[in-house]
């Protein structure tokens, strides 16, 4: 049970503080390498966007790398690199985040950058315009990939009311018309200490870290984020289908089912079910999907890939604040009809919905997930990501207790979740049919 002990140990050494202005701070010393990582997380993502402003959260993320009051535009370049460091950021449906990992002597510098980012970004009108075409280029790059196109269409079809339905990058017309004031308004509204979590992990002293955090962030004033209510997605009453017919070489199938939120008791049973169907991935959006899952004995791999119908199959269940999707994606082998692929996929999903899984399958899935939770926490960057990610969607403690809670999942739990969640009437089927 080495992994479980490791997870418990991790949980016990996280220091959690909340500043008077509402900023949540998580610190975990890890002395494996002379490095430190800082992640700042904001509870704002594409779910928070109104019609006409889709993609604003992501665009704001881009603008927050373009200089601040105390970091002139021409000094942004190399601000972390001079410490051998790496920086990045991403926006998704529930959150926007920024990170730096560098040598530990850069810690104060990293905290300064994040404090500047929270309060003092410039939004120079010329920079906003220049970034418009960069983001449209990013969107068009995604459109080059038929699987990404299909994913976008399937999500928009599966959701009718919830803010999860539009792509994080936004719809093209909004990107063409959004103004500098739209961007700045979104930034000012959501970037507040009381809407953020700051995570520091690495070769650091937690008391020293805390004093630096107070110095850089303690003076900030909180403000009301005025979050609008998010519509609960109504229950899906019948199967939905979307078919893309475009020039291409390869056929793709994607089936989506409404999934529970990360904090729901069914989430982990569905994670186990996914491991049985397509191999365990883990739950780290930053790291888990860079390594293929152990899937060659998984049910869908066996029935689709080993049968020659498909060249690849994968499942995806990501932890989210509200119920999102569990998806199964299949690449048809060249020359195999999509109808055959869909029939075989549906048949396998029906089988598990009707008969559930076996005790040996449960054991294997748990072994896989136990290992993946260890593998996906192999660096300070990854450890800090998980703390902040889970704090944004539920609580950081949820990530630290995953291993123990997965261990308690039973065959009956998985069977019930399969029966409830994989019903044909609640699925959305997406097909990409290439026109050669």
């Amino acid at each position: 049970m080495a992994a479980l002990e490791h997870a418990v140990q991790t949980a016990s050494i996280v220091r959690e503080e909340v500043l008077e202005n509402g900023l949540r701070v998580l610190i975990q010393p890890v002395h494996a390498a002379p490095l430190a990582t800082v992640w700042s997380w904001y509870r704002v993502g594409s779910r928070d966007e109104l019609p006409g402003l889709t993609g604003v959260s992501h665009w704001v993320e881009h603008m927050n790398f373009k200089g601040t009051v105390n970091i002139p535009r021409d000094q942004v370049k190399g601000i972390i690199e001079k410490h051998g460091g790496y920086w990045n950021g991403y926006t998704w449906i529930d959150q926007t985040t920024y990170t730096e990992t560098a040598t530990r002597d850069a810690l104060d510098h990293m905290l300064f950058i994040e404090a500047e980012r929270m309060t003092s970004c410039l939004y120079d009108p010329a920079d906003c315009e220049s970034e418009r075409t960069v983001i449209i280029s990013e969107l068009q790059g995604g459109e080059n990939d038929p699987e990404q196109l299909l994913d976008q269409e399937l999500t928009a079809t599966a959701f009718r009311a919830h803010g999860y339905r539009h792509p994080t990058i936004g719809w093209l017309s909004d990107l063409e018309t959004m103004t500098r004031d739209d961007l700045f308004g979104h930034y000012r509204r959501f970037y507040a200490p009381n809407n953020a979590t700051l995570v520091i992990v690495g070769d650091v002293d937690e008391t020293d870290v805390m004093s630096r955090v107070v110095k850089h962030f303690g003076w900030m004033e909180p403000h009301d984020v005025a979050r609008r209510p998010c519509t609960t997605e109504p229950e899906q009453l019948g199967e939905r289908r979307v078919t893309l017919s475009k020039e291409g070489t390869t056929a793709y199938l994607k089936i989506g089912f409404h999934a529970p939120a990360a904090a729901h008791r069914d989430f982990l049973a569905l994670l186990v079910l996914d491991a049985v169907l397509t191999g365990a991935k883990g739950v780290n959006l930053w790291a888990s999907f860079r390594t293929a899952p152990p899937q060659r004995s998984a049910r869908l791999y066996h029935s689709l890939v080993d049968s020659g119908l498909a060249s690849a199959v994968s499942g995806a269940l990501l932890p989210t604040a509200d119920p999102f999707l569990y998806t199964v994606s299949v690449t048809a082998t060249d020359g195999v009809s999509l109808d055959r692929v869909e029939a075989a996929t549906a048949s396998e999903l029906d089988r598990v919905r009707t008969n559930g899984i076996t005790p040996p399958e449960l054991r294997k899935a748990k072994n896989q997930l136990r290992a993946r939770l260890v593998f996906e926490n192999d660096s300070i960057t990854n450890i800090a990501h998980q703390l902040g990610y889970f704090d944004t969607i539920a609580s950081w403690q949820l990530s630290s207790t995953l291993a123990a809670r997965i261990e308690s999942v039973t065959v009956d739990d998985v069977g019930r979740v399969a029966a409830d969640r994989l019903s044909p009437s609640r699925r959305t089927v997406g097909r990409f049919e290439p026109i050669r």
Binding site: A2, E81, G84, Q140, P294, R296, S311, K364, Q368, D378
Partner: protein, 421 residues
């Protein structure tokens, strides 16, 4: 400062084992490199080494593909295989408690693959699908076409590593077995074991599963001739069903063992990597807002490898982007780097090493790179001084020798039908 200080041992049969202990997680990473990459393909059988990489782990003389899959999956282990120009690599990470068993399976896969006929046919279908997917991907098309034009039909760097649909259809099980028997030999295997395991025990474990493996010495390939630059060459591959065009622009440069390698690395960093893509990023992304990504990469190899600039842009900006690349290259050739650029890039290349060595896979990859190019076990300690010693004049000279726009190979793939100059 001790640096990584790995333990290295060459077994009696010639297998090289490199071990390094870490304790961040109770896990161990295994990375095996066989000198069986795509340079050993023939023009008639492009994709043979890749085909071997897709089938080597699908059954051994002792276990079926299903049994192997079960043994690995049961422990949460994904055995990944990949191919590069010179290497066939197998890698996985396992829990420390499973390392003996997993190492045994890895050794079995490397030394006794059986290439079952049914598995060969299944994998053939997968490979053909992968090739079709590449054919529909502007980025893959741009890079493949660029390498073909840059190196020409006589050089293995110019061949598609996955082959073509036709070449893959012509490969049979016997060729896979023959390719494996010829290239997978003890002297051609290097195994890195990094993680929560004592190095002495790691080497003992490797010895117990690989020490008895016999095979003749690997035959090294002579360097294939590099085509002399014949002036600028350009090609457009129209893919009108796509939204964005991909540009690949570059040159053949130097081998990794070239004495000027670190000057080239610094030059590449300030040209197209530092921060958001160096000088190229400043111009094309930051100032002109034309691309989500633009960068350069230097792939110095056993033979002179390419320096390739990549960008994804709107079709309307293709000409302007290529002109901007030309301008930035000419500026670097004419004026050389600034002292500030030089200092920043050197500082970054040195300072980023601890981050590169943070994970078990990062360390294993680094050690295997040092082993493959003969850089020495202490390369992590020597590298900072080697980079510090690079002068502005050396970087300027690297630019003058390597990146003349008049000798560039330029490929555009995507929804673009214009002509290039």
């Amino acid at each position: 400062m001790a640096g990584l200080s790995p333990t290295r041992e060459v077994l009696g049969n010639g297998v090289t084992v490199i071990a390094k202990r870490t304790s961040t997680t109770p896990a161990v990473t295994l990375l095996a490199n066989l000198r069986a990459g795509s340079v050993h393909d023939t023009a008639a059988h492009e994709g043979l080494a890749h085909f071997v990489s897709r089938t080597i782990d699908r059954g051994t003389s002792r276990r079926s593909a299903e049994e192997l899959a079960e043994q690995l999956d049961e422990r949460g282990v994904t055995l990944s295989t990949s191919i590069s120009r010179h290497l066939l690599s197998l890698s996985c990470t396992c829990m420390a408690e499973d390392v003996s068993h997993v190492l045994g399976l890895l050794a079995e896969v490397i030394t006794q693959p059986s290439f079952p006929p049914v598995e060969v046919e299944r994998r053939r279908g997968e490979i053909v699908t992968l090739i079709r997917q590449d054919d529909d991907n502007p980025a893959a098309v741009a890079v493949d076409t660029f390498m073909q034009m840059l190196y020409g039909p006589a050089h293995p760097y110019g061949w598609r590593m996955r082959g073509t649909v036709e070449s893959v259809q012509g490969i049979d099980r016997g060729m896979l077995q023959q390719c494996h028997d010829a290239r997978a030999v003890p002297a051609g295997l290097s195994l890195a074991i990094v993680g929560d395991i004592d190095p002495a025990r790691a080497i003992d474990e490797a010895h117990s599963v690989l020490g008895v493996w016999n095979g003749r010495a690997a035959v090294e390939m002579a360097d294939a001739p590099i085509r002399a630059a014949r002036g600028r060459q350009c090609r457009v591959v129209p893919m009108m069903n796509k939204s964005q065009t991909d540009i690949a622009y570059g040159f053949a440069t130097i081998a990794r063992t070239d004495a000027s390698y670190h000057a080239y690395a610094v030059m590449n960093n300030l040209l197209g990597q530092y921060s958001l893509g160096g000088r190229l990023g400043d111009s094309i992304r930051e100032r002109q807002g034309m691309a989500y990504y633009v960068f350069s990469s230097l792939e110095a190899n056993l033979m002179p490898g390419p320096l390739v600039i990549r960008a994804g842009v709107s079709p309307a900006n293709v000409d302007k982007t290529i002109a901007s690349i030309d301008t930035e290259l000419r500026a670097l050739i004419d004026g050389g780097p600034t002292e500030q650029e030089l200092a920043e890039s050197k500082q970054y290349l040195i300072g980023s090493m601890p981050r590169a060595l943070e994970t078990n896979m990062g360390i294993a990859t680094y050690l295997q790179t040092a082993e493959f190019f003969g850089l020495g076990l202490d390369y992590d300690l020597r590298m900072p001084d080697l980079v510090r010693a690079v002068t502005r004049e050396q970087v300027h000279d690297a630019a003058r020798r390597a990146i003349d726009p008049a000798a560039a190979t330029v490929v555009v793939a995507g929804p673009f039908e214009g002509s290039l100059s």
